[in-house]
């Protein structure tokens, strides 16, 4: 009788038991750190001296310290420029690679390689070799008699260097776009051609509307990644010159692991989280206006 009851309980809750290991991990390694970081953000928690003070001092400092505010602004600028440029470029290349060209598989692989390499030391060295004052770009433009560019002499030049690094790693977004493009029926293009629509019209009136769910997905994931970018500026520009490429992630890293000021690092991480959350929420709300889900009522 008892074992029957246990069996029934197990069978009724089988789904729950299947997800239980994940749930335990999620609570221990995600929810708990997430909640505790919120608490620590209101303290002066230092790994070596513990908590000696609580209050809003970290948030006060974030909103009053011009260098921290600047880091948030640089991060904002970086994400706002990087994401549209990267998505546009990825879509453009995916569109080209969707044509039936000779050796297209080779190009698909070649364009994906930078994404596999990621933000590694080797890539940092490569990027420096390309952009330093005696680097590849200056050598090329020098051959045409142009003046050398010191990319690191201005805030915008330095930011361009690290934005281009992320844009260059467009492969993963490109592959997702490519899969979406393959899903667009050829019939639609044929019908449009018969009606006299050119390639541009077909692209903007057929292709883009039909892949908006994928554009939306790429937008959200790229936005989250761009706001949390760390490797590029840390390895290539070290946040310089004069803080021009100091993204908030670098400040979080320095506070957490160099100075062990977890309270301040948590507060900065929370502000970053709220910014990412706001952008994500805006994107979700705005999708009603521009994302086309074909499985429902046309929107």
């Amino acid at each position: 009788m008892k074992s029957k009851g246990i069996n029934k309980f197990l069978s009724d809750n089988a789904g729950f038991f299947f997800v239980l290991p994940w749930l335990i991990g999620f609570i221990l390694f995600k929810v708990y750190p997430f909640a505790s970081s919120l608490y620590y953000s209101f303290t002066n928690y230092d790994l070596f001296s513990g908590v000696t003070k609580t209050g809003f001092m970290n948030y006060n400092k974030i909103f009053t310290d011009s260098d921290i505010r600047r880091a948030f602004m640089v991060t904002f600028k970086y994400a706002i420029i990087d994401v549209p440029v990267k998505l546009t470029f990825a879509l453009f290349i995916a569109y080209i690679l969707n044509f039936k060209l000779k050796g297209v598989n080779f190009f698909r692989t070649a364009y994906y390689i930078p994404s596999i390499l990621g933000g590694s030391i080797a890539i940092a060295i490569l990027w420096r070799a390309v952009f330093n004052t005696d680097g590849l770009i200056n050598t090329v433009i020098g051959a045409f008699g142009a003046e050398k560019i010191n990319w690191m002499a201005s805030a915008n030049g330095a930011l361009t260097v690290i934005i281009l690094l992320r844009v260059w790693q467009f492969g993963s977004a490109m592959v997702i776009f490519l899969a979406a493009l393959k899903g667009v029926s050829e019939d639609l293009y044929e019908a449009a051609s018969i009606d006299g629509a050119g390639k541009w019209t077909q692209f903007f009136k057929i292709t883009v509307p039909l892949i908006t769910p994928v554009i939306f997905y790429n937008l959200i994931t790229q936005l989250c990644q761009a706001f949390q970018e760390f490797n590029g500026p840390f390895l290539v520009t070290k946040g310089g010159p004069n803080g021009a490429t100091t993204l908030i992630s670098i400040l979080i890293y320095n506070n957490a692991f160099l100075r062990h000021k977890m309270g301040m690092a948590s507060a900065q991480a929370w502000i970053l989280f709220l910014i990412v959350m706001t952008f994500t929420a805006v994107a979700f709300v705005s999708q009603k206006k521009w994302v086309y889900y074909s499985d429902e009522d046309g929107r």
Binding site: K30, V31, Y32, P33, F34, A35, S36, S37, L38, Y40, Y45, L47, F48, G50, D67, A71, W127, R128, N132, T133, D134, G135, N150, A153, S154, A158, C224, Q228, V236, T237, K238, G239, G240, P241, N242, G243, T246, I250, L251, I252, N254, A256, F257, L258, R259, H260, M262, S266, Q268, A269, L272, F273, V276, M277, T280, A281, F284, Q287, Y293, D297
Partner: protein, 459 residues
């Protein structure tokens, strides 16, 4: 249906964002717990330390250090010799490059996972000492570690709460080094005072606007400015936990640095950033003689020399040690303990760990093998062994002797605190970066520097 889908997607996005943003908190929570455990464990092992003996029972030690390839090779040889001498002791080395080393080791200290013997920076005693709980008191092991070989002053600098947290390996100071070949090419003498330094700037500019007689980064500028101030005003930078200089005097120092840029003695920080080099010794302009001088620690100069010797574009360049540039009536500059050996308070075999330190610093075999890989030894016996056997890099020995005889100012242990020295958000980086970019004037720079340093000293 659509609403449910949207809310589900929104919920998933929240979870995803939580997953991405939670790492700082995760570290914090875990470390607090381990910190408490570490503290109690440390207390237990420290009290048990005195009773440990080298009875011949098998002992396993971990020894951690950072450095370059030659230091790694020399230290591994020394470990082999040590384990041959004490067959019951097995030593596992843990080494790597400096980048990221401090972050890793500080968390190891906090988590009770630190190596038994650690090569540490002098300021770690203050930063990670936890009031004397992180490292074993080496005075407890003076029977196996000969502390008489070290001057009482140098040992005093390694104490925290009256406990000896580490023994100094070497002392170091900053000196001027020059690429003599570049000066010969420009046709100007190597500088010995401010006038000749400024004249060199003019000559280098006339030869090639991309050439400079001296190159200094943000942190180097801070040290050079302190050298200038000490030379001119004859005061330590910090005395009894307070900056000894007025805002007007620090402004004078800032004007001095700006003047060097304006007179083409040093490149702007934007110019150095534009080179996109990891460090000055890896900068192509240093390697090819466009930057012809450095103001560097005696213990680090050899890598600049090697970089010059490895130049493909300009082979056979001559790297020389210069005189101290006179900038006032006093001998400016300070010396500091470049690094030290400490024993983790969580070590189960602190006595054997102390024996390893003694072997590396005082034993003839160990000293000969390690030579000047960590600078000129502080240990009297260690130095004597090197001198008797004519060992060590002659340039390092010459430079160390020179700076120890010249620079007499003292350094506050917080001078290298990460609130000040960290790149890119340490006070030194921010102040000198803004000054060089023209974002702030020298008065503002002086005020910002004093405020930043004072905050660090008070905290």
């Amino acid at each position: 249906m659509r609403k449910i889908k949207q809310w589900t997607a929104m919920g998933l996005a929240t979870v995803m964002a939580m997953s991405l943003s939670a790492c700082a908190g995760s570290k914090g929570g875990t470390s607090e717990t381990t910190s408490a455990a570490e503290t109690s464990k440390a207390a237990e092992t420290t009290s048990a330390a005195a009773s440990n003996t080298t009875s011949g029972e098998p002992v396993e030690l971990k020894f951690s250090w950072w450095g370059g390839d030659s230091r790694h090779a020399a230290t591994e040889e020394a470990i082999k010799a040590f384990t041959a001498k004490y067959p019951n002791i097995k030593v596992t080395p843990e080494y790597g490059a400096w980048t990221g080393w401090e972050e890793k080791q500080s968390l190891n200290i906090l988590g009770g996972n630190a190596a038994d013997v650690m090569q540490i920076n002098w300021n770690w005693i203050d930063s990670y000492g936890q009031g004397g709980k992180s490292f074993a008191n080496l005075e407890d092991y003076s029977d196996v570690l000969d502390l008489k070989q070290f001057s009482p002053e140098s040992l005093e600098l390694c104490k925290l709460d009256k406990k000896l947290m580490a023994v100094p390996i070497s002392l170091t100071g900053r000196l001027f080094y020059w690429n003599k070949s570049a000066f010969d090419e420009v046709g100007v003498a190597i500088p010995t005072d401010l006038d000749s330094l400024n004249k060199a700037g003019e000559a280098f500019k006339a030869k090639d606007p991309d050439m400079y007689p001296l190159a200094v980064g943000e942190y180097d500028r801070m040290i050079l400015m302190v050298y200038y101030l000490e030379s001119k005003y004859g005061k330590n930078w910090v005395d009894e936990g307070q900056i000894s200089y007025t805002e007007e005097e620090v402004k004078d120092g800032m004007d001095f640095i700006t003047g060097l840029e304006q007179k083409h003695v040093i490149p702007t920080l934007a110019t150095i950033s534009g080179d996109m080099a990891d460090s000055l010794d890896k900068n192509a302009k240093w390697i090819d003689g466009k930057y012809a001088g450095i103001f560097e620690w005696d213990s680090s100069a050899s890598k600049f020399k090697k970089a010059l010797e490895g130049s493909v574009n300009k082979p056979n360049q001559e790297f020389v040690l210069g005189d101290f540039i006179k900038m006032g009536n006093n001998n400016g500059g300070f010396t500091k303990i470049s690094m030290a050996y400490a024993v983790s308070s969580s070590s189960k075999h602190p006595k054997e760990a102390a024996m390893l330190i003694d072997f590396l610093l005082n034993d003839e075999e160990g000293v000969k093998l390690v030579s000047t890989e960590r600078g000129i030894p502080c240990s009297t016996e260690g130095l004597k062994i090197l001198q008797d056997n004519k060992l060590g890099d002659p340039l390092t020995i010459e430079a160390n002797t020179k700076v120890m005889g010249y620079s007499k100012f003292t350094l506050d242990s917080k001078f290298e605190h990460n609130d000040l020295k960290a790149n890119p958000d340490g006070v030194y980086y921010k102040v000198f970066g803004k000054l060089s970019a023209g974002e702030i004037d020298s008065k503002q720079a002086a005020s910002d520097l004093i405020k930043g340093v004072t905050d660090t000293l008070e905290n």
